[in-house]
């Protein structure tokens, strides 16, 4: 029981914080629930795409930003071609795949060269590819890459605009099947797709590839000596994650309805990872439950902070900054706890081994 408490200290703390602050924020229950349902349908897919690299021992994949960029490029194209509704979304999904796969392979190979520092490397890689993305989208599109709809471009004639209205495909998924319970709108279709990813993740764990990843994630050397192709397995984990992130970003953007061409993807990595960690995951262990509870808790913080800040401290700004502080602080805290716990576990194991050997000695003597 105590171990459970320690393992889940982070979500428990956050939950307590929210429970304390919510009444002070002056927000009402039903609209809040609506917000949460909305944000779940918007963000959960992206958070779930983080799970597989964790299984493969590659830590928190900041590289999902690469998938997000792939998704956005796809959306730019289908917006240019004026393809609307669910077909638009479907086509965007398909188009994003080759980009995601290529970026995923690149990311996987780079991460293989940075064993032991995967997380910081994927973070920097995200920044780097963002630069390349800018090259392509801000300078290449409308220039070398043909764009038909000139309304998409900046006034100088090339480069995609800062904000792209996704009116064609807005809510294309959400409005497909919609339910209203107690004044709360629930985008069933989107949630079904997310549930689909959940089942896919569960199924994946039981496959040969999933088992290989689990082995690689725990001990690369043992996996290698048993014949598993460790580098390839790791690259595959990243590729799958990147492709899923591409889909996730499309789901996210179709809900919001507008794409900030150069910003929408930037914070995605940090927010999704922070959410997952808030839900109790660590860089070596994460479950679907962590993802769901994490998104709920993390976004509750988002919703509650500005209002709470205004009511408690007299400034919505303070509330905002506080939320930022908590989000980043949580990530730092989880990472530190994780390292510290690993050290303690190793020490504990060694102590037990020594004790066992000593006991074995005593047993032998008493025979």
């Amino acid at each position: 029981m105590k171990k459970n408490l320690i393992n889940n200290i982070v979500p428990i703390l956050i939950l307590t914080l929210i429970a304390l602050v919510f009444p002070l924020s002056g927000l009402r229950v039903i609209p809040t629930i609506q917000e949460i349902v909305l944000r779940l349908s918007r963000n959960l897919f992206l958070v779930l795409s983080l799970l597989i690299p964790i299984v493969a021992g590659m830590g928190l994949n900041f590289g999902i930003v690469l998938g997000a960029m792939a998704g956005q490029i796809a959306l730019i194209f289908i917006t240019d071609w004026h393809i609307i509704g669910i077909q638009g979304i479907f086509l965007a999904t398909i188009i994003s795949i080759p980009f995601s796969v290529l970026l995923g392979i690149l990311a996987g190979k780079i991460l293989n060269k940075a064993k032991g520092r995967e997380m910081i490397t994927s973070m920097i890689l995200g920044f780097f590819i963002n630069g390349v993305y800018q090259l392509v989208v801000l300078y290449g599109m409308g220039n070398i890459i043909h764009i038909t709809d000139k309304k998409l471009l900046l006034s100088r004639g090339y480069g995609v605009r800062n904000a792209v209205d996704l009116i064609n495909v807005r809510r294309g998924l959400d409005s497909l099947i919609n339910l209203k319970i107690y004044n709360v709108e629930i985008p069933i279709f989107t949630l079904l797709i997310i549930a689909g990813l959940g089942f896919f993740t569960i199924w994946f764990r039981k496959t040969k590839l999933g088992q290989d990843m689990r082995a690689v994630g725990q001990d690369m050397e043992v996996a290698r000596s048993s014949g598993i192709n460790v580098p390839k397995t790791r690259v595959l984990a990243i590729v799958i994650s990147t492709v899923l992130a591409g889909f996730g970003q499309i789901i996210y953007l179709q809900n919001i309805g507008t794409m900030n061409t150069y910003n929408s993807h930037e914070q995605i990595g940090m927010f999704s990872i922070a959410a997952l960690l808030v839900g109790g995951a660590s860089s070596s262990k994460a479950t679907i439950f962590n993802a769901i509870s994490g998104v709920i808790l993390f976004h509750m913080l988002f919703i509650v902070s500005p209002n709470a800040g205004k009511n408690i401290m007299g400034s919505a700004e303070i509330g905002e900054y506080f939320r930022v502080f908590i989000s980043y602080g949580i990530v730092a805290l989880t990472l530190v706890l994780h390292q510290w716990r690993r050290k303690k576990e190793k020490e504990y194991k060694r102590k037990k081994e020594m004790e066992a050997i000593m006991k074995g000695e005593l047993n032998e003597k008493s025979i």
């Binding site: 490397t121 920097i124 630069g131 090259l135 400034s315 506080f322 502080f325 990530v331 530190v336």
Partner: protein, 341 residues
Amino acid sequence: MNVKAHINKLGWPRIIIGLFLASMYISCPFLGLDLKAALNDTFIRFGMNAVLVLSLVPMIQAGTGLNFGMPLGVEAGLLGATISIELGAKGFNGFLVAILFAIIFGIIFGWIYGLILNKAKGGEMMIATYVGFSSVALMCIMWLILPFKSQDMIWAYGGSGLRTTISVENYWYRILEKVLNLKNINFPIGEVIIFIIFAFIISMFFKTKSGLAMKAVGTNEKFAKATGINIEKERIKSVVLSSMLAAIGIVIYQQSFGFVQLYLAPFYMAFPAIAAILIGGASVKKATILNVVIGTFLFQGILTMTPSVVNGIIKTDMSETIRIIVSNGMILYALTRKGEL
């Protein structure tokens, strides 16, 4: 054969960047740009940033990694600057007061930061990044609620909290030049001198018993342990030193720039500095003063040259994008080097 060995040692990215910069300088006259002005610009920016880049050296040498948590030290420096202005200290005294408080807070923040990093051996860089980010957010709240009263700093019309950008023109803007009575020369002699002073101090430090101990920890931890060196203590020392230098570095930056930038400005400050030192030849585990000088110069050179040159060629400003690609590409290269774990 020797050439190949040299190339391997330098690494392709550095060579590419060096050639890139050289080609930009060469193309200046052809584009109608003033080479002298451009070079001068580079030197000024060198002076602004050199100490910040220098601040990375202690932690790298001690094996505590690239200081992605530099924002923490920067915040200490910002506190120093704001307190100095609050106290109304002007001129060179104001600058010294700012430095003094920067050092004090740098030590305090650095010590806490060091304790955290010691609990996180193996994952320092990631955790440093997030500690840095959290501290910026925390300080944002502080800027809003700390009881500063100086009219030069708070929002006009009775708003609460400090302004985002605070001018130091009436306090210690370019004080390093003014102090040396060199107001009219554009070259940043004052900044260069102060950099040399600190570089000398650091260089001497690593020759002392304490500095040797720190270096041993970074070069061969087992050797250090067997020599009776307290590894935890040395790591904290390195973090404190780095944070102190970062705090001093931002004050120097501000006096040259003319403004104190609060709130989210320090957020991404670590990355350019890290990119600079890596471009200068440093690695995750080893950095020298020469790396700092070369790296800062090359990096700032690219930052100053690119807008004008690229604009001159293709009539577009690609500087931001190029900066992102160059700095992050450099860090990526360093992180994927083998045998530096």
